[in-house]
Subunit: 294 residues, 2 copies
């Protein structure tokens, strides 16, 4: 008998917070301000969806705890760095993040730039710890997965496509390519890092799940951006519409965007359903991620 | 009978340029502008001191060519990303780099931010290529070396200390800590990546060499900053003095700064001298790096 989803989530959130806190150098270590700002930007907030996906995937594949911890913290560090850089004045220029001043507002632009840079290095540092995996080839695979998910064919590339798309009409297909990289790549990496110890079949099923959930996640973000108010989101709402960025809602309309999110959810669940009890947390997470909009 | 230094350098510079050109995605690959800006920022210029140190060190240790290529390109990608971010308005605000407009001037701030981010990911992608090293533990060690050299205990941390030091009086010791991270860490990583196949004794000798040369490199940069004009450097000269940053020249005076650079050179050479002909390129590089100021 497994614990309920809420208990599992609370336990994992407490745990990843501790792991991240131990991973990021103490603010009393030189350079003090940089380390303080790194901790400010990563700790004490966020839904940690990527970490939860990594842990859920690790449960299906019986991946060792230390490996799951490394995977979960690496993806959260990459995600946090991307938020710090995204919020900077030359990007989205957002003053608020997770309900508090964004890094460059709390500190300054130069510090925010270095915080993001150092968090990215730290993610690779975490995964390159000698002896992390019994099979070093598995560990190299994890590093390769994270590097590809972060770079110009992954998250940073998605950001670049997003920037270029402002004010331009995009097809749904072009929007999907953009989001597959911008958000989807790291969500997929999170589940794949958790699945490091899995069989080929398990990894393929999890990859399908991750791609559909990653896309659903973004569709729902677009829906929420229209529907939610600033307080609920903890960031400035309606910003994408205001800056004339194409979204699923602007292309499909609200009703069809919700249908799409639901369809993606169904396909994701179907991919991992054969794994029964082992896939419980991934199924619950799929519901958790998509129910925000239903 | 080995070729002379100039022939060796020319050959290696041509080679690393080809390797980097093949490593960075083509500008006709989506996202076009990002890839074009990445190529703009990395290719066609620079002294490639870090790549040359990696190759020279590989010659001493008989490290395989493919491994040396991966190490050399990874450090050059990290170096290039750091220059792109350093030049941004919120950091050094430099319009000129390697004699042409810096990345954010040629493109825009958002693109420069993403170029740096994606180049860092690419460096780890290069080193995490499955099968790069016969011994996967050696490859994980290379990834760990690069991650630590780039992060808050390495290059990004050195930048942060540098930022905090503007306008403050620094002791020579504090200046050395700053430079050991800001410039030294990546120079040391470059030589260590080249030394991947080396014995413990070789690696220790090379590490001593790298630390002394890394420091000498920075002392000489400070000397050149005072002595050289904008045209010779390809960047705005006298900038550090103008922004009231502490330098070796401002702390020690010009004559003692030159003495220090010379002493560091002597110790570096002595560390690798026992390896005779195998250390030829490292010795020549030490001369090349330091002779700029004598």
């Amino acid at each position: 008998m497994q614990t309920d989803f809420s208990t599992w989530t609370t336990s994992k959130l407490t745990h990843i917070e501790q792991v991240l806190s131990q991973t990021i150098p103490d603010q009393h270590t030189l350079p003090h301000k940089l380390h303080e700002a790194m901790r400010y930007s990563v700790l004490g907030g966020g839904k940690r969806v990527r970490a939860l996906l990594c842990y859920a995937s690790a449960e299906l594949c019986n991946t060792e705890d230390a490996v799951a911890d490394a995977g979960a913290s690496a993806v959260e560090l990459i995600h946090a760095y991307s938020l710090v850089h995204d919020d900077m004045p030359c990007m989205d220029d957002d003053d608020l993040r997770r309900g508090k001043p964004s890094c460059h507002k709390q500190y300054d632009d130069a510090t925010a730039l270095l915080v993001g840079d150092a968090l990215q290095s730290l993610a690779f540092d975490v995964l390159s710890k000698p002896g992390l995996c019994k099979d070093p080839m598995q560990q190299i695979g994890m590093l390769s997965t994270l590097a590809k998910a972060s770079g110009s064919y992954g998250m940073a590339g998605g950001q670049a496509i997003d920037l270029d798309s402002i004010g331009k009409p995009l097809t749904q297909q072009a929007l999907e390519i953009m989001h597959a990289r911008k958000t989807g790549a790291l969500i997929e990496a999170a589940t794949l890092l958790g699945a490091s110890a899995g069989s080929r079949e398990q990894i393929t099923a999890i990859q399908t799940y991750a791609r559909k959930i990653g896309l659903a996640f973004q569709v729902i973000d677009d829906i929420l951006d229209v529907e939610a108010d600033t307080q609920t989101l903890g960031k400035t709402a309606g910003k994408d519409a205001g800056s004339n960025k194409p979204t699923y809602v602007s292309i499909l309309g609200l009703a069809r965007a919700k249908e799409l999110a639901h369809d993606l959810y169904e396909v994701a669940i179907a991919a991992i359903y054969p794994y029964g009890e082992g896939s419980l947390r991934l199924r619950e997470l799929a519901t958790y991620i998509t129910q925000r909009a239903f």
